[in-house]
């Protein structure tokens, strides 16, 4: 079977007038900032019977949602633009921000058009939120999605294929439409292209970070999780072309990788602050999702098996995944740092984030052993005070410059 995965420019972007990065980024920013999700609402309203399926960090097989004819909608909390009024009544002060702002989005009816919700296994907080969602929004199809922690195809793999079947059936019931293997393979091909383009953008940034600032890349990725994958693919192509073509001043910044930020997201200002403090972020784990699977998913054979194999064999190391061998712990981070030629690591975690914070000493030790300088700090999605972070990152950048 051959699948056409060629990207075509979007209708709103004629080829003769290629958009500038600023234009693309502006579009992404408006999507990212729109907590009423107008674009997703419009997508749903455009064709009767369309469904939207939300998903939370850190990974869900979006191919299945797409193959069901639904729009996968990435939900990453409320950021720093939304006042959380009701959400605080659901959570104690010592629990991170993302579940409370997600609840806020729900109870303020900003998600009233969302027909299904997938809560991937990232930690006990998101896990418990899946049950809360069932109670708060009984008409929404809510699914806790537990990926295996055993990576043997015969053990974890077999379990996972069955879980994927269950997910496929659940989506089938939601939409009233059976997902065929061919539907799924077509979606896999589109997402393979998406992942390839995402990797290309990341590689481009690592090559020329002054041409692709992380504050832009971040918006490009976040917006991509709120639109159809076909459209995101075109946007990525357009961005790459535009960024390549534009001249931008190169600064004497140090190159850093950011880890620990896979779930609750830092405010955009924090990402900008790192840049202003003299850091080019050349590698990160912000909101993983589209970088969670690191290679193409096979479009031959059984597509569920293919998705399972990709998860088992070709997915990133991150805090919610068990690392079976002690000597491999943190290896991924070190390899990525080397690949992106980062000179240091900023381990930036949400406050009260057990997975990231418990991982921190282990990952940082490995970085230390590999001679990679690192610093750590905590943030919240609504952190407002950037001065301390800017100072810390600035000092870090200076020390790298001085000693490297």
């Amino acid at each position: 079977m051959t699948i056409d995965t060629t990207s075509k420019p979007t209708e709103s972007m004629p080829t003769e007038t290629m958009p500038a990065t600023a234009e693309i980024v502006e579009r992404c920013r408006s999507l990212y900032e729109d907590l009423d999700f107008s674009a997703a609402r419009a997508w749903k309203a455009a064709v009767p019977g369309r469904k939207v399926v939300g998903f939370m960090p850190v990974y869900a097989p979006l191919e299945l949602i797409h193959a069901a004819g639904c729009l996968p909608l990435g939900l990453f909390g409320g950021g720093d633009q939304m006042e959380v009024i009701h959400g605080d009544a659901y959570y104690q002060s010592y629990i991170c921000r993302i579940p409370r702002s997600t609840v806020e989005l729900g109870v303020t009816k900003r998600l009233d058009f969302v027909d299904g919700m997938i809560f991937p296994f990232v930690c006990d907080v998101i896990r418990n939120l899946s049950g809360m969602w069932k109670l708060m929004f009984p008409h929404v199809w809510s699914k806790f999605f537990d990926t295996p922690q055993n990576f043997d195809p015969e053990v974890g793999g077999r379990y996972y294929v069955e879980e994927l079947k269950e997910l496929r059936d659940g989506l089938g019931t939601l939409t009233g439409r059976k997902i065929s293997d061919d539907d799924l393979k077509r979606s896999i091909a589109l997402y393979n292209e998406n992942r390839r383009l995402v990797r290309e953008v990341y590689a481009f940034r690592a090559r020329a970070p002054w041409k692709a600032p992380t504050s832009e890349i971040y918006l490009l990725m976040r917006a991509g999780l709120m639109m159809e994958v076909e459209e995101h693919n075109r946007l990525l192509v357009a961005y790459l072309a535009a960024a390549e073509a534009e001249d931008r001043p190169k600064r004497d910044n140090v190159r850093v990788a950011v880890y620990g930020s896979f779930c609750e997201q830092p405010p955009l200002n924090l990402i900008k602050s790192l840049e202003m403090a003299g850091c080019y972020v050349v590698e990160d784990d912000y909101a993983l999702v589209n970088r969670f699977i690191t290679e193409d998913v096979s479009t031959d054979g059984d597509p569920l098996e293919a998705l399972a194999t990709a998860y088992l064999k070709h997915s990133v190391e991150t805090s919610c995944k068990y690392v079976p061998n002690e000597e491999d712990k943190g290896k991924y981070h070190v390899a990525q740092v080397r690949k992106a030629r980062a000179e240091g690591v900023i381990y930036a975690t949400p406050s009260f984030c057990d997975p990231a914070l418990l991982d921190r000493p282990m990952i940082c030790r490995r970085l230390g052993e590999a001679g990679i300088p690192h610093i750590a700090f905590k943030y919240a999605e609504n952190s407002g005070q950037m001065q301390p972070i800017r100072e810390q990152a600035g000092t870090f950048a200076d020390s790298i410059k001085l000693w490297s």
């Binding site: 922690q149 055993n150 418990l358």
Partner: protein
């Protein structure tokens, strides 16, 4: 405070625990192997098949909490780079290693031969043992127990656990111990487990009586001890529960309440509570006293279900040994989704004729705590009984504010009184 008064069953349990610590700390002399593992998802019967001694870091943290050592251990771990935000059981354990790793019997803990990472109901377990593994460099056997997200276990989940037992856990334990797995040995242990489980359920259900002859939270943590730790599947556990049953029966016959640490029998029970969440260990006696001083007895609790929900009918089954271990792991309280937890607690409030649900929310524990405010509201809504919320920590003394807890409890009891007066008027 004077020494706590202990009933014979408590003394028996104390001896059992001491014996187990002795077995752990003397492993270099005896040549026995030691596994570290967790209370929820504890596979004690399986470990026994290989002659492996069971060491439970959560229990060590509790012991250190009660002996007022955990505070300094936690600080030690924080000095070593651990965040103030994370689970204090983990930090108490890691800090203890930094401070000589001394067991409650005063002897150093030897290094474990294997970490049995049965990952049931709590994500942090995985990180905890990744951290220990970094230290001990010993084999680590992961048993991933999927979460009952839709409120029930599926065949796929069960099969997955059984496959892991067959392919990972049993061969791993064979390798560590040099002992060949004998399923009949497992069956025999499971038979004993089921007997002890019957006794435990009988004991916990006596909370339905008025006055309640047990305290299902502060007393309950003792009742669950043998089954939740290193004694499930042993004759000693059965002997313990027989002794416990006799004591409870004697109190029932005498119309008495539970024995408090002061030695009195707590008969004048004004309030009957269901409690959700683990207790605070650093100020355990003080905490308990706040309840019985006010006339509050706990008639049912969720904490006594973290190591298995036997009261819902589950028993280890010698005829289906591996499957029954899988079902056990799946069914532990914190592996159940929020709506199920709410149903269980509401059922307790009804069946144990409680005045309401009190939540002791633990700063450390996302597994229990995330969603508890909703649990409280939902249980209130379902039962029409008032709920209350207090906040403490497991083993970090910095988060136990006696004055706050006392105030909250007093207001709660006033609320219950008001509700009663309202109900009496309406009648």
């Amino acid at each position: 405070m004077s020494d706590a008064v202990k009933e014979p069953s408590m003394l028996l349990q104390k001896e059992m625990i001491a014996k187990n610590y002795e077995a752990i700390t003397s492993k270099n002399e005896t040549g026995r192997k030691v596994a570290s593992t967790f209370v929820p998802g504890n596979l004690n019967e399986l470990l026994m098949c290989f002659g492996i001694v069971n060491n439970l870091p959560e229990i060590n943290a509790i012991q250190n909490g009660m002996r007022k050592l955990s505070g300094s251990y936690i600080m030690e771990a924080e000095k070593g780079g651990h965040s103030e935000d994370v689970c204090t059981y983990v930090k108490a354990d890691i800090g203890m290693m930094g401070k000589g790793n001394i067991a409650p019997n005063g002897k150093p803990f030897p290094e474990p031969d294997v970490l049995l990472l049965s990952y049931t109901g709590c994500y942090t377990f995985m990180k905890w043992f990744e951290l220990l593994r970094e230290q001990y460099k010993c084999p680590t056997l992961m048993l991933h127990v999927p979460y009952e997200g839709d409120g029930h276990a599926t065949k796929n989940m069960r099969d997955y656990i059984v496959r892991q037992l067959r392919e990972v856990v049993i061969p791993g334990l064979e390798q560590v111990s040099g002992v060949k797995f004998d399923i009949d040995r497992l069956r025999e242990a499971l038979r004993l487990s089921a007997q002890a489980e019957e006794h435990l359920v009988w004991t916990l259900e006596q909370g339905k009586r008025k006055p309640s002859p047990i305290d299902a939270y502060f007393g309950g943590v003792y009742y669950i001890g043998p089954i939740f730790t290193a004694f499930r599947g042993t004759p000693e556990a059965i002997a313990y529960y027989e002794a416990l049953r006799k004591e409870v029966q004697a109190r029932i016959d005498a119309g008495q309440g539970p024995v408090t640490p002061d030695g009195g029998s707590f008969d004048d029970q004004k309030y009957r509570l269901v409690v959700e969440g683990p207790p605070n260990w650093t100020n355990f006696r003080e905490f308990w006293k706040m309840f019985y001083d006010e006339g509050a007895v706990v008639v049912a609790s969720s904490y006594t279900k973290v190591g298995g929900m036997y009261d819902l009918g589950f028993r280890h089954d010698p005829d289906h040994p591996l499957e029954s271990l899988a079902d056990y792991c799946l069914g532990c309280y914190t592996n159940r989704n929020l709506p199920t937890r709410i149903d269980i607690l509401a059922k307790y409030v009804e069946e144990y004729e409680a005045d309401g649900l009190l939540i002791n929310s633990i700063k450390s524990c996302n597994s229990f705590s995330a969603g508890q405010l909703m649990i409280m509201k939902e249980v209130e809504r379902k039962t029409g009984k008032p709920g209350a919320f207090i906040e403490t920590d497991l083993v970090d003394p910095r988060y136990f504010s006696a004055a706050n807890v006392k105030n909250r409890l007093e207001s709660y009891f006033q609320m219950i009184e008001q509700k009663r007066r309202g109900a009496a008027k309406a009648a």
